[in-house]
Every structure is written in C-alpha cells, then in structure tokens.
Subunit: 491 residues, 3 copies
C-alpha cells in the first residue's frame, strides 16, 4: 500500500504548494530562518488550515460552514494565508512585548485581541467565559489567594512547629497558574547569540504559559492556544477531550476522568477513529456518535438535514445552569465572569455563605438557569428520548442537593473545631491546618467528583473513586480527628 | 486522497441502500419521525450490522462465523433487517412498559428476553453470569445493602455527632446501581407536547440505566447494551477494554487501570489501530497481537488454521476460578450467580467467614476451579510457553493467599476495636465508623488492586498504586488509630 | 473499500512471501511446530521488521536510516532474516538456560548479549543506563531492600501488635521486580507432555519477567523486550508513551500520567494517528508534531533537511541532569549506574544525607549536568523559542529546590518523633511505622509528582493531583499525628 500512499502524498504536496503561493512576503521571511531554527512549529503550521486558505476564501463559505466570524477582514490580510507575520506583527503598538526583529515589529505573545481580527464572535463569547477571568478571579480574591498560598507552601519546621513561607511566583506559575493563566510582563530586553549573530529578545515574566485566563502584554485576557494549540490551531484538537484534560483531570475537577468511564467516553474511545472531527458544522450521528466535551459545551451542532441543534459558543457555561466545582458549595453560575465583585453576608468574596446559602444577587436567576438547561437538553435529545433526559437531570439536581448537605456537615465539624479552640478559623487562614485541609477535600475533591459523576453518568466517581465513599469516610475521620485534637489539647 | 475516499463513500452508500431495502414497514415508520426527533441514534443504527443484514442472511454463515445463535428465527423477522420496530415492539405483552405510540405497541426498555430471539445461547450464558444478578445480589443482601447505605450517606451533624440519613433512590441509581443496575418500573403515563402534538409516554423509575444487572419491566435481568451500546450494538466495541472500564476502573475494581499498564494493555494501545475488532471468529496473531478483556474472558478465539482455542462465553467467570474482588476475602467463585442464598457459619450472607475461611458448600469445587483455569491457560498458551504460564499462575495464587492474610490482620485490629468498645461491631453496622472504613479499604481497594495486578501483570498496582504499600500503611495507621481512639475514650 | 484493501493485502502478502524465502532452516523448523503451538507470537513476528529484512540488507542503509549499529554481522546470520533460531540458539554456551530441544540447543531467555550481535551501540548505552542496574540497585542496597520489605509485607497481628513477616520471592516478582527485573535462574529440568510427546524444559525461577534490570541466565543485565515487546520488537511501540507507562505511571513515578495531561501529551493523543512512528531517523514536524517520552529521552531526531537535532541514546539519563524520583531528595544523577557503591557521611547507601545534602563525590558534576541539559534544550528548541525554554528550566530548577525543602520539613518532624521515642529510627527500619510511611509518601509520591509536573508542564500533578496540596497537607497531618502519638504515649 506504500506506493499508493506515496503517490497520494506527492499529489497532496502538489495541492499544498498551490496554497503556499499565497504566503505573504513577511511570512516568507520568517519561514526562511525558522524552518531551520524552529522546524517543528513551521511544519505544524504548514499542516494547518491557516496555511492553506486565505481569509477572503474563508469568507466565501456558507454561514454554517464558515470558520471565521468577521464580516470582513482588513484588505492586507484578506488574500494571504494566515502565517507567522500575520499574527506576530499584528497590533504592534498595543503589544508591550513588541520588539524589533530583522526589520519587523514582532511580538511573542499572540492574544485573543489578535485572533479577533478574523474571529470576533468567538473572542467576545470567550470574554464572558469564567475561564478568561481565571487569573484575576484567583489572584484578586483574598480567600482564594489564601487557598493557593496554603496549598503551594512551602512550609518549614522550626522549634517543633510548622510555618508557611510565602509562595513564590515560579511555583504559582508551575501549579495553579498553569491553568488559571499567568500575568505575562515584559521585563526588558536581553541579547543572545543566535546562528545569525547577536540579537535582542524581550524578557518575559510568567512565561511560558498557555492558561485560558492569562493576562497578556497587550492587556487582553486569555489564550486561544489553550484549546487550539499552536501552531496548528485545529478545531479537531479542540473537539477531542484530551485538550480539556490538561486542566480538567485532577481530583479538584475530574471531568475528563469521569467522561472517560462514562458510556459517552467509552464509545468515543472505541469508535473515534471513524469520526470526522474537522467538519463544520458538526453533524450528529454522521460525524460522531457520542458527545465529547465540546459537543455538549461549545460546538455548533446540526442534524443530517442541516437543522441547528445548538449554536456554537465559546462561553463555556452557556449550556450549564450550575457551577459544580471549585467553590465550597455548588450554586447557580455567577452573572458576571469577574467573580471578584461577589460578597456574601459575612463579607467574604464567596458566592455562598460558609453554611451554603447562595448569594443570589450575584448569581443567575431561575429563568436564566432554565434557558441554559434547555439548550443542554436539546443536545441530549439528539440521541435520547425525553424520559431519559428528564430522569437524568432529576438525579443530577438531587446530587447537587446531597453533596451540598455533606459539605455542610463537614463545615459544622470544622466550626466546632474552631469554637473549641483546636483550630483557628477566620480571620486567620481557614485552609492551613490538617482538619481544615480535610474539610477542603470534602468539597474540592469529593463533592465535586460526585457531582461530575452525576453530570456525566460517570459511575464510580460518584461512588468509590473520590465520590460518596470519601464524602462519608472523610466525615467520620474528621469527627475522630476532632476528638484526637481535643484530647491532645486537654493535656 | 479525498477524491478516492469520496468515491468509495459513494460506492459504500450504494451498498447500504441495497441493504436498507429490506427495512420493515414498521421500522420505516419509526425512522420517518425519529430521523429528525433523535437523529443521533438513527444514524448510529444505520452504521450498524443490524441495519445491513437480515437474520435469514445471518443464519447462512458457517458456524464459526455466525453472530447469531438461534437455529431459526420467527418468519416475520427473518427477511427484514433488525430495526427499531423489530426490537421495540417485540413481546409487547410481557413488557409492562409497552404503550401505544402512533398505532404501535412500543416498549422503551429492550431486554435480554427480546435479544434472545436471535441470540439465545448468549442470553442463557449471561443468565449464569454474576453480573446479571448484580442488582439483587446487592439489594437483597443485608450486609451489602448496609455497605451501600453507609457508603452513600448523606450524614448530618447534630449536637456534636454524625448521623446517617437514609440513602435515597436517586443517589443509589447515580452511584452503585449505575453498574449493578436499577429496578426499572412503570409509574404511570405522562402526556408531553411533541412536534407531532400531545403524546403519552410511560414514566419509569430507575431510568435511565444500562447496568448489567438491571431488573427490567418484563421481569428479565440485565442489559445487553451495557457492553454492546445502543444503537450500534457492535462486537468491536465490546472487544475493546474501554467498555469494561465503565464499571471496572475505580479503586474497588481497578481492572481497566491495571490492564492499561500491563504489557498486554500497552501493546493494545500502541497497535490497536492495525487490529481487526470485527472479525468473527477472532484469530490470534492475525486479528490482534495482545489480549483485551474480551479475549481472555469472553471471545471465541481461533488460530490461523481455524482451530478453536476458546469457545465464546457470556458467563464472564467461565475461565476464572477465583473471585478476587468485591468481597472481604478472595475465594472460589460461587456456584450460583444468585449469591443471596449464601450463608456463612455466623449466619451472615457472605462467602467466607469474617476471618477468611471459605463457605465451601456454596462455592465451586477444586475440579471446577481447575477446569476454568485450564480454559484460561489455553488462551495464554496461544502466545506463551508453558513455563511462562505456570510461573504466572503460581504467583497469582500466592498473591491471593497473602492478600487474604493482610485482610485478616486488618480484621483482627477491627475486632480489637470492637472488643475494647471504641467501635461498634455486629449487630450494628460494620461499615459506618472511621476505623471500619479503613478496614473496608484494606480489602475493597488495596487487596483487590494487588490481586488484579497479579492477575494481569500490572506492576505498580501490586506495589505503590493502591497495592501492597497501602495494605501495609493502612495496617500501621489502623493500629495507631486504635491507640488514639483508646486514648480519647480513656478520658 | 474492502475490495481495495483486499487487493493490497494480497499484494503485500506477495512481498512478504519473497522476504520469507530467506528464513533459515532452523527457524523454519521452529515455525513448523510453533505456528500451531504458540500461533500468536509466530504471527506477531511475521508482521515484524525482523521477519522481512536480513542483516546484510539492513547494513546497506545510509547511516542515519540504519537500525542496526554493528559494522558487520557473522556470516551465517547476514543473509537470513532474524527468526526464532537466530536469537534463541545464539551463544548457547553462555546461556545456563540452554536445553536440548528437537536437536537444537535452545535457550528461553533472549538477552541484550544476544541482541548486541546486531545492536552493539544500543546495548553498550543501555549498560550505562540506571535502568539496566535496577535489580541490583534495589536488592543489594540494604536501605532500599528494607523499603521493599516493609512495603510488601505481609504483616500479621499477634497479641495486640503488628509484625512484618519476611516478604516472599513471588511477591517481590509480582510487585517491585516486575519493573526492577528479577534474577532468572535455572532450577533444573522438568518433563512435560506436549503434542509431540514428552519433552524436557528448564525450570526457571523469577520467570516470567521483562523488567529492564533483569539478571539473565547468561549473566547479562536487562531485557530489550521491556520496551520493544516480543515478538515484533518494534521501534514504533517504543516511541509511544504507553510502553513507558508500564513502569512509570504509579504515584511513585507518575511520568506517564503527567505527560498525558501536558500539552505535549494531549497533542499526541489527538493527532498521533497521523504521525509516523516507524521512520528512522525521526523528523520533527514531519513525522510528529509533539514529543513523546522517546523523543526527549532517547530518539535520533533530525529536521526536515536531515540535520541531527539529537543523537539516539539508550542511556535514558543522557539528556537529564537531575534525578527527580525514587530517592529521598532530588539530586544530580549518579556517575555510575551501579548505585550500590554510594555511601553518604552517615554511612548509608544513599546519594544524599538524610537532611538533603548531596553526596557529590558519587554524582555528576556541574559541567556534565550542563552538557546533559544542553542536549535536552536542543530538543525543546526544535519547537520553542529560547525565552520559552529558559523560562521553563528556571521553574523546573526552582521546583527541585522547594520540593527538597518540603521533604526536609517532613524529615525534621520524623526526627522529632524518633527523638521523643514515639517511633524507632536507625538502626531500626525507617520505613515500617505509620508516621514513617507518611514521611515516605512526602518524597516518594508528592515531591516526585510535583517535580514530574514541573519537568513536563503537567499542571495539576504539581497542584492537587498528588502535588503541592499533598506536600502541605501531609506535613500538617504528620505534625498532628506526632501530637497524637505523644499523647497516647503519655498515658
């Protein structure tokens, strides 16, 4: 079969060459060096759609099939493919990371503001996505900032006691901010020897990073390459669950793990090689036979007659009423993606009280919750009868209720520990002691896992795999631990 | 290569159309609406073998290649493909979920009793499978029912103490019964607005569910779509390990995880794209070069000359002598798949005493154990020399012995806690307190994991990944915890 | 498309037959029986490169494309394909497992000494690999041997106390030695009934095993089939991360898990089906667009013009300066793969003091560390700009520093427990009590995981998935546990 494959490769290369004829001079200049300096990314781009089609051609597609959402693009970009220079020299003045490079004003960090030249609708939706605010929502929320500090450490042991040291920027970037995004800042220029002699490059703090909430040197938030990794920027990659796993697999947010043991996930694993992940729009049953993360939360879906089942969205909670992870209690989604504005009655920047009551003024109302759920149910209904779908959501909402209840029980044990003086609560850190960390796991790991399992029919993640088993074991262990602390204090 | 693919698609569609000519009128009626109401499943079915071949054609295949086991099928089914109506209107009188739907007597839940029209041998074997009894074995066994209740909770904290509330049906369905199966019952009819006006549909409790031990509205047990998911009902999907992972991945039964790090699993992952998962019979070396779950436990295997290496079975323990998970001690498999009949000397419905001795009267004898092991060894021997196979089984049986020993040590610590009054044993729950839950993990997680690792050469799952490391750490922690409890009680 | 595939299969079989014409008489004899006795492995070999090319043909390839490193091969092997007999009858005198089999002097265990006939450079590199010494480094190091004993157990509970029993050989083989390798020894001959009448076969202890540090009956160390599993011995399988997962997935060495959630891993998962895993040399961007384990640590890499980016190595730490797992503190790699020679100031066979200071005399120096890092950075630079690469390594080295610091804090708590007499330190076991096992997890699980996450940009594995969260929680729990122990002792 090799000779046939060979023949076809030659044929395809021929096609590629035709497309490459539309490369801009600037991009040709980039490639002339970078094909040998960074050969991997040049090759990756050459295989991408960006290298094969111009915005003008892309605009000609019918509305459902279009992959760009601009009504028109600037003339100088319209008739060349989207190459190195098109993105890395765009908006040079707003980019603090712009530097002079072989006669061009180049910037390192391509941002949503650059991408929106062709993809404005997606960027506007993404701005309403909590994910795009992940950096500030973590760093500007003193409660959450303290959770980060006490999670990262390091601690030192002195005179028989443990002390937390200030966590360092590098650890933050390595851990929480990998997904939340870093703040990327220009810290001057640095000269380096290259194959072409000495050249100057910007020094960036918080770099490298691809977190979806990244604060960029042009003031924008987010990184499209979180999900459409450079330099292929593929829709197919974003539609597969692997990309989501980068940030949604740990015990704090086990979405990927739960998905992979769900019926949906195992059908995906078994049959994906026959699916079409590139088609736009994405046709249920024809292009795929079970949903991925993107199917339910993001993609434009149609049936085989081209009727729209769901509109594309880059606001990831557009079809989700409930925020089921990351916070102490599950609650309706916040109205505003900037959650630093939220204050509960106790004055804490949290969407619920410590005892679970939602801070409704900052959260979406019943009508909006229903609208979002309706959009999701329409996706389910492409393959499931109504009784199936309704039965599923009934269970899911009950699980939200009972996991919140199990979190409340843990909170009450913790309050008792604070009251009896064997742990220090507010205004001290509420996350730094052993029994407090057990409490954190109750909601951050076990309640979350149980809810994800309910949300995706993920079986054991609602039972023994960080699910209800641990919710109940943790309560019993917290209760015993409290007794042991009281005993040790009594002495 | 697109034009070639395109050409072939056209060609294949041509073939498909020919096959579709044999669709029954009733099924045509179903499709006429459901192609737009639930387009995903109609498309899925269209890609399936069921949509392309009639039972009459299927019966013509030679014995080894046949995918149906009936000697003949009812005349009215023989010459149409197996479509919506063929299954969903079968046996309408035995189905309590039958309802009038556009002039047809349709039922929602297709069951093994329906499938056995064409696949009677498989259904008969499946009835002997412990899996088909998973619902009643859990719900009708008071010890196991109590394990479920204390695992699911929820607990509430009142007056300084924790109390278990009664677990709710929805939580059970969401967790344990996802795999064990629910009891699906008709709770009346409900009218709903549809695109075709108001229609009535049955209201089902315990729905949705695909658990292999599901109790169906027609009185049958099980769900073929657990492993052959609807509406493709593919043999290929059932042969891949992903489907098994849905219920066999958690810490209580880590079969999939262990398999995936075994040499077998990693060869599967690396080379599966070149394997043929559709061929019947399944030829060792030609169709696949390492076993999957199905290879060892279920599939009909032949060598390249067509000699049978193993007969197909849907009784999943047909090649397994030992029951290595789920119960307190590993023991020979029960004789009867209905394990609620078992009673040990202490009167508990368990296959061993609390101290490990097997309750032999209810378990298979040496001869049957040897016969099952011999069938498994024949599969191993297709690729491994005798010394390899014997060495492997020697280790496996030793691991059963030592993991039981480590469970006994944990049980003895627990007995001491009961005796000294710091935990409450029988007749109280033996699963509800912290030290009891530590004991449960000894057998339900760590001993099981260690045995699965031995059974599949899964390396770290017998060492640090929930294996022997945890067996030993847990014993030391239980021993210290007991000291702390005694200390706290002393006050 | 079936008819086309069929046509091509016929064509390929034709080619295969041509190749098969060069099979030696001895191998033909093997196959004549084993095609039916062990059909799986014969078929696997028939699909391999070994069955299709002779060493003489392999030697004709240009240097970069050659898969064998011998300058010449013995005349009698040069013009036949590499079949059963070529390997299993090689060096019969040095093989203690050689036995008379149908007129041939056959041995069971093919070893690196056999493979080096054609692959001497790879075997010489592998001898410098710590992996090839994994058996002796574990079994001949009394500290590590004790860690193994206390990890494997089993323990028994007598008179209210736990006691460790001597761990058995079978448990060792089943757990630690699965990866470290067993010692395979001939324990006599045993007669067995076969289809060809009674035959004698050697009885081997420590068998089966494919561990990379296996001690073989010919005195050699290692097993090439660890990574190139029999009987395909494929380079493609070794280049995929699944094979590495067999030994590098557990909590003690979570490399595979971290990789799979990294951007590299998720691009691999999404796009691997379009990659070429067979090409030699391996071209960045053309054959693959993100690295696998092999890319960074082993493979010969070139750019599209054939310039070498990295030379092939089978010394797996050839591009790694730091040893980040398995020992108490991260430290520069040992100079010698035989680590049993190392002694710290306290006289322990460890590469650092218990308080973290490296035992520099036995470890590579700064210059060697820089040379190794430079080789790795050259691989990174195929796709990443210098600022990206430098930023990455800065974080990684900081993480080494802080994880060592967190281990030190845990060690200090442990020292306090020893000093205060609530746990027994040296010369007693330092791994056998609950608080000691908590200390072990600090470095063996949590510090390791955090470092792997930094090394591969693995996000949550540096945060909540066995990362910094657990480093800090474990410290707080150890500190409380110490209090509880003191309290219980006080009585």
């Amino acid at each position: 079969m090799r000779w046939l494959a060979g023949l076809l490769v030659v044929f395809c290369l021929g096609l590629t060459t035709t497309a490459l004829a539309k490369i801009s001079d600037a991009t040709e200049t980039c490639i002339s060096c970078h094909a040998s300096v960074t050969p991997g990314i040049v090759a990756d781009w050459k295989n991408s759609l960006h290298s094969r089609i111009t915005p003008a051609e892309a605009l000609k597609k019918d509305k459902l099939s279009r992959r760009i959402s601009a009504e028109k693009v600037p003339a100088k970009l319209a008739n060349v493919v989207v190459g190195c220079a098109e993105c890395h020299t765009m908006n040079p003045k707003t980019h603090k990371d712009t530097f002079e490079h072989n006669g061009y004003q180049v910037h390192v960090v391509v941002t949503p503001k650059d991408c929106q030249t062709c993809h404005p609708v997606e960027v506007a939706q993404y701005d309403k996505n909590i994910m795009s605010h992940a950096y500030i929502n973590l760093k500007k929320n003193p409660v959450y900032h303290n959770l980060m500090d006490t999670s990262l450490g390091p601690q030192v042991f002195k005179d028989g006691k443990l002390f937390y040291e200030k966590s360092d920027d590098l650890a933050e970037a390595d851990a929480c901010l990998h997904c939340h995004g870093t703040k990327v800042e220009v810290k001057g220029l640095k000269a380096r020897e290259t194959e072409l002699g000495e050249m100057e490059f910007p020094v960036l703090s918080g770099w490298p990073n691809n977190g979806p909430g990244r604060l960029n040197p042009d003031g924008s938030m987010g990184s499209c390459s979180s999900c459409h990794p450079r330099h292929a920027f593929s829709i197919a990659v974003a539609r597969k669950p692997y990309i989501c796993a980068e940030c949604h697999k740990g015990p704090d947010v086990p979405a990927y793990k739960v998905y992979m043991v769900s019926k949906h996930g195992n059908i995906f694993s078994s049959t994906k090689c026959k699916w079409n992940f590139d088609a736009v729009p994405w046709t249920v049953g024809k292009d795929f036979t079970a949903p991925t993360c993107a199917t339910c939360h993001a993609s434009l879906l149609v049936d085989q007659e081209g009727n729209v089942i769901a509109e594309r969205t880059h606001q990831m909670n557009d079809r989700s009423a409930w925020r089921i992870f990351g916070l102490i209690y599950a609650h309706p989604h916040p109205k505003d993606p900037d959650t630093t504005k939220i204050k509960n009655k106790a004055g804490l920047p949290l969407p619920t009280e410590l005892t679970g009551e939602p801070v409704s003024a900052f959260l979406i109302d019943e009508a909006e919750m229903e609208a979002r759920t309706a959009r999701m149910k329409k996706v389910c209904s492409a393959c499931h009868a109504t009784s199936w779908v309704e039965g599923f959501f009934t269970r899911f909402e009950k699980t939200i209720e009972t996991t919140n209840k199990q979190t409340l029980a843990a909170t009450q044990i913790l309050l008792e520990a604070w009251n009896k003086g064997v742990a220090k609560g507010l205004p001290s850190s509420i996350f730094d002691e052993a029994i407090e960390k057990m409490w954190v796991e109750q909601w951050l790991f076990f309640a979350n896992s149980t809810r994800f399992a309910a949300a995706m029919d993920g079986a054991d993640y609602g039972a023994f795999a960080n699910g209800r088993w641990y919710l109940n074991k943790n309560l019993q262990q917290m209760s015993d631990w409290l007794k042991f602390l009281l005993e040790a204090k009594g002495k």
